[in-house]
């Protein structure tokens, strides 16, 4: 169906190729015994073994994980608030302000947000004494800030399609507002909330620029460590690390979409 001619297909295939070829090559060569990405010296898992002994990488991984979990959780909670405000509260007084301030971070260059947040933290430190120095908590705050705007977009989309009749039925049966939202609405939009959390988590975990500005000694995240190594060129340890991360994400994404498809088709069958 549709005008599928050769030009469209070849451009499409080329596009997918550009998207995937470099990654696939890197994955293949992560199993290369040699150091180069051009000469195959036999298969080996030694770079992967090396990962487990690299304390710097392991601790950076742990830091990134901790930060991402906190940032994603805060972002999701606030994101729900923003989404609810926009979809349910009609034309409230500060709607325009909230709308502007919640959508600007989506397009703002990271380098500007990173720099500006650092300046704020420094200024706050000299005025109030908090935050004292930069570290895990400043990174969490920074990540949560832009995370909540992305989370809001995801949850808003789901809330718009929400069938209000369910809430009206609950009200008719005697429930009142915050309770209705917590016990009825939230469970129903749970998949969107989970998706929002995962999005905020990913954005936090992968963030380099903002973390570079607002991190401190002892709070190096994984992207910061990777970047410092990578500026010097390709290293086989990073190949292995990158492969691990990409494979984990790939499995998660494919698993999630398979699970969603099963859920949808199961629902259709039940109807």
């Amino acid at each position: 169906m549709g005008r599928m001619n050769g030009l469209v297909l070849s451009l499409g295939a080329l596009g997918f190729g550009i998207l995937y070829l470099p990654i696939i090559i890197m994955i293949i060569f992560s199993f290369n015994a040699g150091k180069l990405v051009s000469v195959w010296s036999g298969a080996s898992l030694k770079w992967y073994a090396g990962l487990l002994e690299n304390d710097q990488l392991l601790s950076a991984f742990g830091t990134s994980l901790l930060i991402a979990v906190w940032a994603a959780t805060i972002a999701t909670i606030f994101g729900i608030c923003i989404a609810v405000a926009f979809v349910r509260f009609g034309n409230f007084r500060s709607r325009l302000a909230l709308s502007a301030i919640a959508s600007a971070p989506l397009v703002m260059p990271e380098i500007v947000t990173g720099l500006s947040m650092l300046l704020l933290f420094i200024s706050m430190e000299s005025l109030f004494g908090w935050p004292s120095g930069r570290g895990v908590d400043t990174i969490i705050i920074a990540h949560a800030t832009f995370g909540m705007c992305f989370a809001a977009v995801v949850i808003q989309a789901r809330l718009r399609d929400f069938d209000m009749a369910i809430e009206e039925a609950a009200a008719d049966l005697g429930a009142t507002q915050p309770f209705i939202f917590l016990s009825i609405t939230l469970p129903v939009i749970a998949p969107a909330v989970v998706a929002a959390w995962l999005l905020a988590f990913t954005l936090s975990f992968d963030d380099l620029v903002i973390a570079s500005f607002v991190s401190g000694p002892g709070s190096s995240t994984l992207p910061i460590v990777i970047f410092s190594k990578v500026r010097l060129g390709v290293t086989p340890e990073i190949n292995a690390l990158a492969t691990v991360m990409i494979v984990v994400v790939a499995v998660a994404v494919i698993g999630a979409s398979w699970a969603i498809r099963r859920r949808l088709s199961g629902r259709d069958q039940n109807q």
């Binding site: 549709g2 005008r3 599928m4 030009l7 451009l11 596009g15 997918f16 550009i18 998207l19 995937y20 470099p22 890197m26 060569f29 180069l36 990405v37 051009s38 606030f78 994101g79 608030c81 923003i82 609810v84 405000a85 509260f89 409230f92 302000a97 502007a100 301030i101 919640a102 959508s103 600007a104 397009v107 703002m108 260059p109 380098i111 500007v112 720099l115 947040m117 300046l119 704020l120 200024s123 705050i141 800030t145 915050p178 309770f179 917590l182 016990s183 990913t202 992968d206 620029v209 990777i226 990578v230 500026r231 190949n239 991360m245 994400v249 790939a250 994404v253 494919i254 979409s257 498809r261």
Partner: protein, 316 residues
């Protein structure tokens, strides 16, 4: 736990609850997003110094009373060393703009392919598009280094196959920047295009063919106008962040591919000149003000267009 919370909150008057829900994110974002920008503006008007923080306070109460260190010196510097600052600015705009076009060139057929596929293929292709989106862009750009290096994969394959005599310099060129941009931003261009294309009624294409339209005519008169909102949305989604991109020029670009992001980073981390860095940040924002406002305006229009028309509902 939800039950317990509910019982606790159920006694809150509805208005207070509402106000809380609005105030929480509003205050947070005002403090942690808006205030920093104000702070940056302030710092852009001070001078650097040794110590912590490495810039003079803008104002304060000292022994002699109120004082201020207001200076426009940073902006004067930007203008004076025009080629060092405005050069990268124009370069950023140029590279971001053409990256946007290249992304569009690939994304449009890809989105069309996905939108016109059957259910099964569509899911698979969408996953293939989303996968890079969920993986770290740093890692994707890193993979490109090994790909494009003089001793990297393409050159090695080319030499081995006898296609080239000597390694081609692909790193630290405009080409490597464009490839990095496409790798990073292609999914962002595909998604809004796909969203618009999948809603395109196949009957419209049949009708146009029935009324005498050739393939190209149908594209020009029907497909292009109806996918225009997607094109605009995707283009803005790519262009605006690309102007301020740092990692791509840092890892893939050379001295000729200076972009604003890299200049800002250098001023901040290398030269420790925070006031100038702030001035550059303000310059970057100034450049992007128009596109950002246009993007928000488009968002608003799309929201209106999506509201169901009562007449449409009655006929459907």
């Amino acid at each position: 736990m939800v039950r317990g919370m509910g019982k606790y909150l159920v006694n809150l008057p509805a208005v207070t609850g509402r106000r809380l829900v609005i105030a929480l994110p509003l205050i947070w974002l005002a403090v942690f997003f808006f205030l920093p920008l104000v702070e940056t503006l302030q710092v852009s008007f001070t001078s650097p110094r040794r110590g912590i923080p490495p810039y003079e306070p803008l104002w304060g109460i000292g022994d002699d009373g109120f004082f201020t260190n207001f200076t426009t010196g940073n902006y004067a510097l930007l203008l004076q060393y025009w080629s060092d600052y405005f050069g990268p600015a124009f370069n950023s705009i140029k590279l971001a703009f053409f990256s946007m076009l290249v992304c569009l060139l690939f994304a449009y057929p890809m989105a069309w392919w996905i939108a016109r596929s059957n259910e099964k293929w569509r899911t698979i292709l969408l996953v293939l598009v989303m996968l890079p989106f969920w993986t770290s862009s740093l890692l994707r750009i890193y993979a490109l280094i090994g790909f494009l290096n003089p001793n990297g994969f393409i050159n090695a394959a080319g030499l081995w196959l006898g296609l080239i005599d000597a390694p081609i310099q692909m790193m630290q060129t405009d080409f490597s920047i464009y490839m990095g941009m496409v790798l990073t931003y292609l999914p962002l261009m595909i998604l809004p295009l796909y969203a618009v294309m999948v809603r395109l009624d196949a009957d419209l294409l049949d009708a146009a063919a029935d009324l005498g339209g050739s393939g190209i005519q149908i594209f020009r008169t029907i497909i292009l106008p109806l996918t225009l909102p997607g094109i605009i949305a995707g283009s803005l989604l790519v262009f605006i962040p690309a102007v301020g991109e740092f990692v791509i020029p840092a890892l893939l670009g050379g001295p000729d591919q200076l972009m604003m992001g890299k200049v800002l980073w250098t001023e901040f981390f290398r030269n420790r000149d925070w006031p100038v860095a702030s001035a550059i940040a303000m310059l970057l924002l100034a450049i992007l003000t128009v596109p950002i406002i246009y993007a928000r305006y488009q968002d608003g229009r799309d929201a209106v267009a999506e509201t169901p028309n009562p007449k449409q509902a009655e006929a459907g």
